[in-house]
Symmetry: C2
């Protein structure tokens, strides 16, 4: 165990703090934010999820961005239990079939929250990145931010009827952005970029979702240009039993420490309870794991971590670091943002000694 | 329709022509070969599939390459219908579960066949590439060969409990080879490399298998170094009805013609009948489709194309070209190799006129 101090102001941002951009929609999530520490400002790039208001339970309302008309439309389907499975609040799935979902129940986009003290945030009135191309028609989700050579790179999941792929954009000012590329084709998610080149190549952790056989494991891939990734290596899988037996995925962008690259990742068990774990990767060759924690460093124990749109979830995507103090910002229950702080040296020391 | 002439010697190579490399195994497939035209020799890089001989129908025999002992082992499981689905002759699947298979019934590897006349082939006594790493424990399959800057690049599917990924090797002599990289992580297959750079980047068609939502569609990706691919673009999907409503995938490596990049691809309908279709891509920007055939150019009509280990399949992976005559070598029924020839100008003319 390490000592983790949750912010007393948690949750820091909730859906009640944010007005929907779409008329006739409600904000149901402000969560899973990428984080950047600017000289005078802490930035969260929130995932905001909006859902069409629905007073008729016999109907399913499905939000989809329409590229041609450049608007978010709502498709109506009969809530037919012989056709659709609505047991997961996030998706409208098939009753039978080897895929996960036909539609999402909400549409997500990226919106910035700004803070002077890292605790009290003000959310921008407008989106930073809203779906606008054929790869994003179901929404964009779960950004991560890595500063490389003075520029902030943000990658996020783009969801559409083409599957879930990973897009990269860059910004210097968090006002405008440049579209870089689709860096992983479907199905892939939970990509984090390393902040510097290692032996001349950029690195990224990523989490392909497999259909043929096997598990949803974390891989590590490298790139000469941040647009093209390859030389893929399998990195790790969840355990057969315990807190990480459902799925794993990278969480925070890797942090360079004397003990190795510190990666704080998420894992879910088979009942979809999400915790955060930690691992150290070799500084010189990050395809090598030095040690991976046997137990979570953060579990959904607080009330706001247990209850919400999709409960029992802590899901960290970003951090700030001041001296030895790491502040992890994390989504809770697919609903709100929270934060906690802990000593990075305590964490890396205990990982290096195999005490976690 | 175009005029297609099947070779009168078809099938050119059958499992009876090839001795198994593993004791206690039988060769059940010699198919889906990559092809290279050397100055004095036509090379097929066959997929050879070997299956453990099994006289006990109450048992399932599963061949797996064991990396530690560097041997192909056979695992025995009870043929338990409550646990395993064996309705697909190629796989041992789950009775329930959102993935395709637990194991394969055979192990595939790459073995070279050589010919002076392109019709009569002699198969090497040994493997060219046999599974030997953790990504290949269930076998390696369906190579494609593209000559780039004087070197032959071969990519193939590597199957293991980590999913299906795509590896690249290179050779100059088809005797030894150099391991390049894993160029696509799971699940992906049916990768074909373009034979030259376009605006400074290498290109590849590829076919991610999606689990979240959507279909198994063909994407196009580019690379600065042949190891790392990115800037992924969705290219095309099968139709809702007809011969290509099941799945699509690239077949032959793209051929540069005056009319555009000619891609001869495969498509299956929902009953898994595999045909070959053709399309033209823009020479200057291969992410743009000029025209895709509405009908197949080759269907499994001959007896050897209809009957076999997995019937009703024509599956072309390689070709030779002499003047206007294109010879397509293709696997039939996941069992044997066949070939046919046709006029490439007739094909591209009719595609350009939207007559196919």
């Amino acid at each position: 165990m390490i000592h983790v101090e949750r912010f007393k102001d948690n949750p820091l941002i909730t859906p009640a703090d944010v007005k929907p951009l779409n008329e006739g929609f409600e904000v149901i999530g402000t969560f899973n934010a990428a984080v950047a520490q600017l000289p005078n400002e802490t930035i969260m790039v929130l995932r905001v999820a909006e859902r069409p208001l629905n007073s008729d339970p016999s109907k399913l309302l499905i939000p989809i961005y329409d590229v041609e008309s450049q608007t978010t439309k709502v498709i109506t389907k009969d809530n037919d239990a012989t056709r659709f499975n609505t047991s997961d609040s996030r998706t409208i799935g098939p009753q039978q079939g080897g895929y996960d979902f036909d539609y999402l129940t909400s549409i997500s986009y990226l919106r910035i929250a700004r803070s002077q003290d890292g605790v009290h945030f003000t959310v921008d009135d407008q989106a930073f990145v809203y779906p606008h191309n054929d790869y994003e028609t179901y929404g964009i989700e779960d950004a991560r931010c890595t500063k490389i050579d003075g520029k902030y790179y943000l990658n996020f999941s783009a969801v559409s009827s083409r599957g879930i792929c990973v897009e990269l954009i860059s910004t210097t000012d968090f006002t405008s952005y440049h579209e870089e590329a689709i860096i992983f084709n479907p199905d892939n998610k939970d990509v984090v970029l390393f902040p510097e080149k290692i032996h001349g190549r950029y690195y990224a952790l990523n989490r392909p979702t497999v259909k043929s056989t096997g598990h949803n494991d974390v891989w590590i891939s490298s790139s000469p240009d941040l647009h093209s990734f390859g030389d893929h290596h399998w990195l790790f899988s969840g355990s057969k039993d315990g807190w990480d037996n459902g799925r794993v995925g990278a969480g925070l962008p890797p942090i360079k420490t004397d003990a190795g690259w510190l990666e704080i990742y998420h894992a879910a068990d088979k009942s979809s309870k999400y915790c955060m774990g930690a691992m150290l990767l070799d500084l010189d060759d990050p395809t090598k794991i030095i040690y991976r924690s046997k137990n979570p460093i953060l579990s959904p124990d607080a009330d706001y971590e247990q209850k919400g749109f999709f409960g029992e979830v802590v899901f960290g995507c970003g951090y700030t670091l001041k001296d030895d103090q790491l502040t992890m910002y994390y989504g809770v229950s697919d609903t709100s943002m929270a934060a906690c702080r802990f000593s990075i040296s305590e964490l890396t020391d205990k990982l290096a000694k195999h005490e976690l």
